[in-house]
Symmetry: C2
Subunit: 247 residues, 2 copies
Amino acid sequence: MKKEESSKSGCQLRVAVVGRGNVGTHLVKALTPLAIVESFDSRRASEIKCEFDYILIAVSDRAIHDVAAALPKSDAVVAHTSGSIPLEALQPFQSKIGVFYPLQTFSKEKTMDYSEIPFFMEGIDDETTEKLRELALKISPSVYLADSEQRKKLHLASVFACNFVNYLYSNAWQIMDDAGLPTEVLIPLIHETAEKVSRINPKDGQTGPAARKDLPVIHSHLAMLENDSHKAQIYRLLTEGIMNLKE
Amino acid sequence: MKKEESSKSGCQLRVAVVGRGNVGTHLVKALTPLAIVESFDSRRASEIKCEFDYILIAVSDRAIHDVAAALPKSDAVVAHTSGSIPLEALQPFQSKIGVFYPLQTFSKEKTMDYSEIPFFMEGIDDETTEKLRELALKISPSVYLADSEQRKKLHLASVFACNFVNYLYSNAWQIMDDAGLPTEVLIPLIHETAEKVSRINPKDGQTGPAARKDLPVIHSHLAMLENDSHKAQIYRLLTEGIMNLKE
């Protein structure tokens, strides 16, 4: 009876997730229904003793080296989850190394549909890549291979599409606050703009004063920003880019 | 019988929409179930003869003046739909003037939920403002008053939150194309980023290398952009802004 039980659990994948930040927290949530998952604090990486099939290092870029160095030698597939760090960063310490990169912005408290997240895999050899792919496919059907160079480009693109976009939202929030207007009225516009990229290449869907080269409006906007040189610089640079896009 | 019919239709509001661009097309669609609506080409404004309760001038900013000048004198509330043009632009031509500004980005072919669109009203006097408010409330519960100065600020904020955001999407698309990566993998990230502003002030939700002052990643991103000085300028300016935001 006991044996049966243990062999049953032996069929399930065993995954250690190191790191309890946004990515680590969500990987544990996503994998818990699909595998036997243990979560480890990054300072306790050296204590990972049990046999795992996968050890996922979901810590900040600068901590990856130390965690990888602290891990006991293992037969597990050891993968980090960073967009920017090359696979080779794990090479001195482990053999079956890889990258398991989910392309999403995570907030700890938020419930997410993990099946919508694209995962990007890289392994030191075909067998490792395949094992990582198998694990990712349990979570999401969108699983891609990307080498370290492509992953860096992907990360750069996501900085434009997510981090910089959020910063523009923040600028818009400030303008509304300063004018005594309620920020929530911008939300339907923001959602529609984000929806539109599913239907139309953003280059072809560009609207607004810059797209129609409406100089009187552009000048009146710059006049409103004359006491905010940072926003005026952003306005000028992006307007110039949009005007060139349309030529 | 005939009299009854005409008195019945007399209970319904009669709205003329001048202009058949994105805004005009969608106003006609939104109002058709709620009022008797007629659509006019902007070059035919002088032919608007029937008695309307409202004449909405949904044409490009630079055409508003000519359309307003061409309209026959009327008892209707005459309002334009522009974020940038002051109410006074209509003053020389009509008496019951106003602004009826929907804050949304419209694409002609797209079906939209009009009840989610915020409308911003301004009238030359209280009665006109109230009439415009009544019309807007038929379409959406989000109806606000905003004077011409506030509307200009609102328009400026929407340039940041919509037009500039779309331009950043376009930059991300280019980076993906150049790296041979599928652009659609960015879409869940884009949607999540847009969703997040409903829950959290974008200033507090800022993530990414600039927010965590991750200089090695920032430098490696700038190195990837060394042959694209425009994108590098955007990267530097927005990264600088985000780093100051967090201080």
